[in-house]
């Protein structure tokens, strides 16, 4: 085997890379790979250094304090943390079923002539800059939400016990709920294209056999396609969740930017990314440090999400072999 390779090399007329060449190539590949880790570590370290004055001043209570007062220099991360999680949950709650539906339609049901236009349209959604989503959300979606959708929500869901608390108050048009909807539109293309690709990796024999046994499309999707591709599907969700947690510009325009936690999803709120986008340019001293501390928390949050996803995948793989 080795002989064959060497002969092939000589027959092509190329010089053998030799020890030095191998060493150089291997070494530079190593350096590039390690560079990523070093960069990640450097970001982490500089965030910690920048955030230190805020953590020193407020202690660990910074994480669950609900306060944001640049005049009195008193800061806490609770409101932005809450907003970040709520908008991401709403985005996933709306985005996951819709993107699953689109991906299943594209791979299982869609006539061939429609496949390409729909796939392209979904991929184009991913190419729209986030500021455009923000502007569209503020100028188009928010008035519609305010006039029609939110009053309807308040009149219906608002009366349900417990759940109703989340859908009350005046319809501002902007707020956590609208931000979540915009986010769901933004993460949709990522989920759809990954899921479509992993669904297509299911060997056709599996599908054919299931159909041959008399399974319906739904049964094929549930019992053959999804179990086969579950790792990829969960990966798609996590990638989308990571993006929803960190999305900045679009959310800043429609989230309402209030640092007070209110029960209602329709009320204005703030996310970590929107707080940074809003205040970074004008901040100094403790305020800047508190903003960097927020950035650090987002870092930790995203890490945790990815970590938990990895763990889940590992357990799934072990369970199903």
């Amino acid at each position: 085997m080795t002989n064959v390779t060497v002969t092939a090399d000589h027959s092509r007329g190329g010089a053998h890379p030799g020890r030095l060449g191998n060493f150089l190539f291997g070494g530079s590949a190593w350096i590039f790979a390690i560079l990523v880790l070093v960069l990640l570590l450097a970001v982490m370290v500089s965030l910690v250094i920048g955030a230190w004055p805020a953590f020193h001043q407020f202690g660990i209570a910074f994480v669950w304090t609900e306060a944001w007062n640049p005049v009195k220099d008193h800061y806490g991360a609770m409101a932005p943390l809450y907003g970040t999680l709520v908008t991401a949950v709403i985005a996933m709650g709306v985005g996951v079923p819709v993107s699953l539906g689109i991906a299943i339609f594209l791979t299982e049901l869609c006539p061939n002539s429609l496949k390409r236009p729909i796939s392209t349209a979904v991929e184009l959604l991913a190419a729209v800059p986030s500021i455009i989503y923000g502007m569209w959300g503020l100028f188009v979606l928010a008035p519609l939400m305010q006039k029609y959708f939110e009053p309807a929500l308040i009149a219906t869901l608002g009366n349900v016990p417990f759940l109703g608390d989340l859908f009350q108050g005046p319809p501002y048009g902007i707020g956590l709920f609208t931000a979540g909807l915009i986010l769901s539109a933004m993460v949709l293309p990522y989920m759809v294209s990954i899921m479509r690709d992993v669904f297509e990796t299911v060997p056709p024999q599996f599908r054919e056999s299931a159909y041959g046994l008399g399974a319906t499309t739904w049964e094929v999707v549930r019992s053959v396609v999804l179990p086969y591709s579950r790792v990829g599907v969960i990966g798609a969700f996590m990638l989308a969740l990571g993006r929803a947690l960190g999305e900045t510009m679009a959310v800043t325009f429609v989230v309402g930017n209030s640092y007070h936690i209110m029960k209602s999803f329709l009320a204005p709120g703030a996310t970590i990314a929107s707080s940074l986008a809003n205040e970074f340019a004008e901040a100094d001293g403790l305020q800047l440090s508190a903003l960097l501390a927020l950035g650090f928390l987002l870092f930790v949050l995203t890490f945790t999400v990815i970590g938990v996803a990895r763990l889940m995948l590992l357990r799934l793989q072990r369970k199903y072999g």
Partner: protein, 351 residues
């Protein structure tokens, strides 16, 4: 053969030298600045006109006042621009000289059915109460008292504020603090404050969009933004008790009546200035330069730009609805330069 090669080489060398000399002289007169977004439109216009006249390029980045202060303190730009004047200690610590360039106005904008610009008269304390959330409805007695004959609806008030850190917010909040003691003690003034209620929009465009979409809302924007977008503004009661409309004339009155002569380092917030025609919520933008200028030619170009703009740029400023500084104040600023901005050998940069 070799002769031509040498000649070509020599020509090439001369050409390169000439290009180098040209680029370095152009580079020396490239003045850079950073800071306030509020002053950006007029500064760009001045810079364009000044370049056409003198060839000196002024590169200004509107990155926000806070960033502008950081950059001039760090020495990465030749001048900084800020909406919030620095205090004496901070100026001294960084060896900076501060002077005002332009005055602008901030106006409350409202969205009420059937109400046109200037229909509603607001008192400063009432405006403070609205933004504090103690005045919750448009037919509150405090509003009815100042607006006899106006049909004020029974609508809840939604307040809209700037979500991004902004000199506009600082000046607006400072004004509210100067007329409403509760605001002063509970909220105070900064480029971003702890708003007791309401929603935040990003930038002037965010605030105006939210006000236009929400019936019963009130917000604040720079006057140029309100007039360009035909937003519904209100009248305000000034320090002397008169209700005035926002206009160039009332801003000018406020700028002219301000007591610049005795304000240390021009550190003056133009809220609630005296005079029966003065608009109460006006604000100045300040320029920061180093007191010691290492590069004399560049320093001369920079101060020359501001000198030319303050003396010749009034029309351009007024077209953009900024208020140019009164002549008396410009003379005072020129005296400040002569006394405080020096080259490395201790001579004043201007004249």
């Amino acid at each position: 053969m070799s002769c031509t090669v040498v000649r070509t080489l020599r020509q090439a060398a001369f050409g390169t030298l000439a290009i180098l000399a040209m680029s370095s002289s152009a580079h020396a007169l490239d003045v850079t600045g950073a800071g306030s977004t509020f002053v950006n439109p007029v500064l760009q216009k001045w810079a364009e006109a000044y370049k056409a006249k003198t060839g000196v390029a002024i590169n200004y980045q509107s990155v926000g006042s806070g960033a502008g202060i950081k950059q001039i303190e760090g020495g990465t730009v030749d001048f900084g621009a800020t909406d919030k004047a620095l205090e004496a200690a901070e100026l001294a610590a960084n060896d900076l000289v501060q002077f005002p360039t332009i005055v602008g106005g901030i106006v409350p904008i409202v969205n009420l059915p059937g109400i046109k610009s200037g229909d509603i008269k607001l008192d400063g304390a009432t405006l403070g109460g609205i933004f504090l959330g103690t005045i919750k409805s448009w037919n509150d007695p405090a509003l009815v008292k100042d607006n006899p004959g106006v049909n004020l609806p029974n609508l809840p008030i939604t307040t809209v504020h700037r979500s991004d850190g902004s000199g506009t917010t600082y000046n607006f909040a400072y004004y509210l603090g100067s007329v409403n003691a509760d605001w002063q003690s509970k909220v105070g003034a900064a480029t971003a404050v702890d708003w007791p209620n309401g929603v935040g929009g990003k930038g002037n465009e965010g605030v105006s969009a939210l006000v236009q979409q929400t019936v019963g809302s009130i917000g604040y924007v720079e006057i140029a933004y309100a007039t360009q977008n035909k937003l519904t503004y209100t009248k305000m009661r000034n320090a002397d008790g008169y209700f005035v409309e926002p206009s160039l004339a009332t801003f000018q009155a406020a700028a002219a009546n301000a007591d610049w002569a005795t304000a240390p380092f021009y550190r003056l917030v133009l809220a609630s200035q005296p005079g029966k025609d003065s608009w109460p919520i006006t604000a100045a933008t300040f320029i920061l330069v180093h007191a010691k200028q290492a590069d004399a030619a560049k320093a001369k170009a920079m101060l020359g730009f501001f000198d030319w703009s303050l003396n010749n740029g009034q029309k351009m400023a007024e077209d953009l609805i900024y208020v140019p500084l009164p002549d008396k104040l410009v003379k005072q600023i020129e005296a400040t330069w002569a006394a405080n901005v020096k080259t490395s050998d201790g001579k004043p940069v201007l004249p």
